[in-house]
């Protein structure tokens, strides 16, 4: 791509800089005005900023956003998973560990004895969800806040993945927010 040719005024540099400074100072005074009005309670602070005050205010995530996994359940509460290893095979990060066992129901071949996902390795690509033939694994919990004091907390086991509460904390992990 050829470098665009600058006109003489542009090459003088100062006029262009003044334009930039005018833009930023316009933002400054406009936002300062709205902040002042908001401090007096006359209007919402949203007019002065685009910041979302994160822990208190949360941004609505799109429905298709991939968040941490959960395992779906049959009507009796057992996992739908048949331990076919499709997800573990599809996983590029190699973070899914499945150990299969015989299912008591002869109509179903296998079920997972262990189903662990190491969230510290997961890249949130969603291949496991795509690969699953049974719709047994989904990434729709809306939970992204995976922070623990040690790595063990990030290894989610079957019981935890079956949990319906998106903000649950694994029993074996110490949550980061212990101070509060």
């Amino acid at each position: 791509m050829p470098k665009p040719k600058m006109t003489f005024v542009e090459r003088l540099y100062l006029p262009e800089i003044s334009k930039g400074l005018a833009l930023t100072s316009r933002h400054f005074f406009r936002n300062l005005w709205h902040h002042s009005l908001a401090s007096l309670g006359l209007e919402s602070r949203d007019r002065a900023m685009v910041t979302i005050a994160y822990p208190e205010v949360r941004r609505p995530y799109p429905l298709v956003a991939r968040s941490r996994h959960r395992l779906t359940k049959r009507e009796d509460g057992s996992p739908k998973c048949v331990a076919c290893m499709m997800c573990a095979t599809a996983c590029p990060a190699d973070c899914i560990f499945i150990e299969a066992e015989e299912h008591p129901d002869p109509a179903i071949e296998k079920r997972p004895r262990h189903f662990d996902i190491d969230m510290s390795k997961c890249v949130y690509c969603g291949f496991c969800v795509e690969a699953c033939p049974e719709d047994a694994i989904r990434m729709d919990t809306g939970s992204f806040e995976l922070a623990y004091f040690d790595r063990k907390g990030l290894v989610y086991d079957k019981e935890f993945l079956l949990n319906d509460d998106p903000h649950a904390v694994p029993a074996h992990a110490e949550p980061l927010s212990r101070g509060n």
């Binding site: 930023t24 400054f28 936002n31």
Partner: protein
Amino acid sequence: MHTALDSLNAAMSAHPLLVQALAAVAKTVFMMTVVMLIGGLILSWVERKQSAIMQDRIGANRAAILGVRAWGLFHNLADAAKGILKEDFIPPDANPFLHTLAPFLAVSTAVVAFAVLPFGGTVHLWGQSVDLTIAPLPIGILFVWAMMGMGVYGVVLAGYVSNNKFSLLGCLRATAQVISYEVATGLTVLGALLFYRSLDFRDMVAWQMGHNLGQVPFLGHLPDLGAVLAHIPAWGVFLQPLGFVLFFTATIVEMTRIPFDLPEGESEIIGYNIEYSGMKFMIFMMSEFVESLLFAWVIVLVFFGGWSLPGLHLGDGVAVLFGHALPYASGVALEAAAMALKIVFFLWFQMLVRWSLPRFRYDQIMHLGWKIMLPLALANLAVTGVLGVLAR
């Protein structure tokens, strides 16, 4: 009570040096408070908040004392506490004395330069005239340049004794940049000094207050404009617009702030202070803010008439504002407010520049310094000098 006051008055009148010594201590306390408060605390808050407001953000506001957040002002106190309580790490191969001396030199030379900056005229105490300048040196501005030159030693030491290649390269970059622009800083201000004929800041302010543009050679003789120009004060910025722009640019380079922050490069390039932690690192940061206050002050004194306010004249015990007589004290207060407002404006403007412009490349900085600013400053000086002689 009366007798105590009388004896105090008597003692003060009898020992003029005592008056001056007490005044010196008071001035020192005042100046240290101003520098530490603005350079140490307020400016880092301004940097956070002004950038946030310019960028439609809210800025740091989480630090709270008993639930009171005070617009994030407590973040500075938290920073100070953190700086004091952090580990003061000295690399094992570094010389501990020189490693500690570097931040001390960098900041204390910048602060000592404030000694020659006047914050007012003269007051009379017990028959003694006390200058509102810590050290009213006749070489004023040269002292500031000298201290700035000393400040480079802090940077050189920091990079050299840290035993780290990145800091060594950073200090080389910093030194080359700062000394290159020291020439430009010294030259650009000379055009204005041609008018003032003094290096003392108080003389410069007095000259700017005592003249108007109508009295300036050539400008005042313009047929129609001369009368209009007589109402405009002869501030340095009107006499030397090019000199002002060049000087302002050079000062930003001197304090190594964005867009000329190559020595340090907050996030991308590693600078001379990489092996510093805790309070020593914060002192390096602080010296940047102190310098920005210093240069805002110098710019106001040299180019914006110091404490002069158009239309306000302070005589012997009387103040006149646009023909109306004012109490003397309110005239003094107006002057102080004018000075403070001008400095605040330039601090704001420096922040505006710092948060608006992208960083220059190193060869661009050197190109700008040696091939653009130096010739322009020389030409500006030559033209001003020739016109000045022709007008005689």
